[in-house]
Amino acid sequence: MAIVFTNATVLLAGYNLTAQANRVALEYSAEALDNTVFGSATRTKTGGLKVARATVAGFWSGGVTGIEGPLHDNLALDDEVLIVFPEAIAEGATSTGSGYMFKTTQTRYRVGGAVGDLFPFEVDAEGRGVQS
């Protein structure tokens, strides 16, 4: 069953970005290593290292309660936890309200737009790999 993507929850490093965000993307990928040898008719591949990254975007806000402070200051900090729930949170439920989480390093913070826009922000985070 499909869900309408209107009720996501996005938490990063102790900050709830939900009320400022309007877009979130998680990417979990793996390298495909070429192990083709002589005599092959096609290239063959085998699974390699995994890569995890996320992008959160929305509307910028400054001041003491805004998101500018933490997103600016947390750049390059390791071990920030990113948690995303695509739909409504259901405590304790394993069938609904499930989401994703990983330990990240915030790698990019971008702001800026064109005249007349609602001033946007975008932040990237990459997975820290070993999760212990």
């Binding site: 948690i83 394993t94 989480m101």
Partner: protein, 133 residues
């Protein structure tokens, strides 16, 4: 690595019930996640978001209980993770240790969040755990 996660406790909007004794056992609204019988050497993770906390801070626990669940005879279970006490915004991560060398005859099955804090204070936080890799 990105892991699939479920929410064990979301106190972002509701605040928390005072539970300086009993680690939340008296909270009737607490939710328990049933992950089924869990074999040893299945790695689980816990992620904590502490969005605001009072001056004396809060300490969060991830607890597990056996196949009989949280009953009056065993209301607490066992602490699998005791996050560091904090009195500020924070996020913490933990790998849940459950290896075959320490496994008992009873598989871990039921999981929940518990906490200790000073009475009459409000702390807003969310604890999630993974469903296994």
């Amino acid at each position: 690595m990105i892991v699939r996660a479920i929410d064990l406790r979301n106190s972002i909007t509701t605040g928390t019930t005072c539970s300086s004794a009993g680690r939340g056992d008296q909270d009737a609204t607490i939710k328990v996640a049933d992950l089924g019988g869990r074999a040893c050497d299945v790695v689980l993770y816990a992620g904590l978001q502490l969005l605001s906390s009072a001056a004396n801070g809060i300490k969060i626990f991830l607890q597990a209980n056996s196949s009989s669940g949280y009953t009056t005879l065993n209301p607490t279970g066992a602490d699998l993770v005791a996050f560091t006490s904090r009195a500020c915004r924070d996020s913490q991560w933990a790998q849940v240790t459950w290896n075959c060398a320490s496994a008992t005859s009873t598989n871990r099955r039921f999981y929940r969040a518990a906490w200790q804090q000073t009475c009459a204070q409000t702390n807003n936080w969310l604890l999630a755990m993974s469903l296994g890799e």
